[in-house]
């Protein structure tokens, strides 16, 4: 999976399941090499609490996660645009099927699991609505890429890097305010530096690769992927930008018919 380090989300690159049961060795390898270790509920052990149990309500944030997710889907212009675009591409998102609130390790906020076509939301690490909005947007961008392109999450560093660049660029991860809150002070073209940095960290987190190699991959695809603003048509720096983009999206039939 691609994981988000810190308060970020990363893409979970899960190897497609084979026909035979995987051995304990294979499972461990996947955990180490593809980051599944950060998502213990995904890698076979399941949740500590039975779904719907009192234990779950008392000791996990699952209910809060579901509520915040619903609010994000209903009110965030970023999320609404992505959900609409995915529906147009044939990948209608159903909350119960394509989202999963789980406990995760460390400070990971979420991820996208390509094998099950699910977005994982780390209920133990997302406690504010604004954060949930951003995580949902970030992961939906991965899901959107998965839907509209032949992304080889498993084998291609370039594809992985590209999706991470796009997600960092378009989700608000690298907004001025977010960067300041991380004590990353920068002005001129700092947005690009942030996007590069976050994509690099994502690759290093999920792949056993040297920093130099990861930097080369990011450099190789950066120009292309930084300028791919689908489905927004612009880099949305705040809700107003996102609302304008959503308005353009809703108007797309008229727009293309009269070009």
């Amino acid at each position: 999976m691609a994981q988000n380090r810190g308060e970020e989300d990363e893409f979970i690159n899960k190897a497609p399941l084979q026909e035979s049961r995987e051995t304990e060795e294979e499972r461990k390898r996947k955990e180490e090499e593809f980051g599944y270790g950060l998502y213990p509920e995904r890698s076979g052990s399941g949740s500590r609490f039975k779904q719907g149990s009192i234990g779950e309500s008392l000791f996990t944030f699952r209910h809060k996660c579901h509520i915040m997710l619903q609010v994000a889907m209903d009110t965030s212009p970023y999320a609404k645009l992505l959900l609409g675009a995915m529906k147009s591409s044939g990948c209608t998102v159903h909350k119960d099927r394509h989202f999963s609130c789980e406990d995760c390790d460390g400070t990971v906020s979420g991820g996208f699991d390509a094998a099950t076509s699910q977005i994982v939301l780390c209920q133990n690490n997302i406690h504010q609505q604004a954060h949930m909005n951003r995580v949902v947007t970030h992961e939906l961008i991965h899901a959107f890429d998965h839907c509209r392109a032949r992304v080889d999450w498993f084998n291609s560093f370039r594809h992985l890097a590209c999706s991470e660049i796009r997600a960092a660029n378009l989700s608000g991860d690298c907004s001025f305010v977010n960067e300041i809150s991380r004590f990353n002070f920068g002005l001129k073209e700092h947005h690009q530096a942030c996007v590069r940095g976050r994509a690099l960290r994502s690759i290093l987190a999920v792949r056993k690769v040297s920093r130099e190699e990861a930097e080369l991959v990011v450099d190789e695809v950066f120009d292309s992927c930084f300028h791919d603003h689908a489905p927004f048509g612009r880099i949305p720096h705040n809700k107003k930008d996102a609302k304008f983009a959503y308005r353009d999206y809703e108007n797309r039939d008229r727009y293309y018919a009269n070009l």
């Binding site: 044939g90 890429d145 392109a149 032949r150 070009l259």
Partner: protein, 108 residues
């Protein structure tokens, strides 16, 4: 009347052009253009498109129509000015809607 499409109308409604112009000129956007690209935004085209749109609304001139079309096509071309890293799909992934099998291997 002008043109082969008598039911043509501007790709965006005129007030949207004005909205985009004001937004482009705003302090927020000017800051973010610098923060992202290290330069000042170029907002003039939105303003021109607004006036062209208004002109088309008034007298439905071919020149106004073509001017707007050219401007918007340029915008679309700008958005496509990159070589994609991946191949786009014709159809969505086959397993997107497949139900989850709890813990069991999925058939691809």
């Amino acid at each position: 009347m002008a043109g082969s499409q008598s039911n043509w109308r501007p790709p965006r409604s005129c007030d949207v052009y004005w909205c985009e112009f004001k937004h482009c000129k705003s302090l927020f956007n000017r800051f973010h253009e610098y923060y992202t690209y290290g330069r000042a935004p170029d907002c003039q085209q939105w303003k021109e498109d607004y006036y062209t749109c208004k002109e088309w609304e008034k007298n439905h001139s071919t020149q106004a129509k073509e001017s707007l079309q050219e401007s918007e096509r340029k915008r679309v071309a700008e958005q496509r000015k990159f070589t994609p890293v991946w191949e786009l799909r014709q159809t969505p992934p086959a397993d997107w809607h497949m139900p989850l099998n709890q813990g069991k291997p999925q058939d691809s």
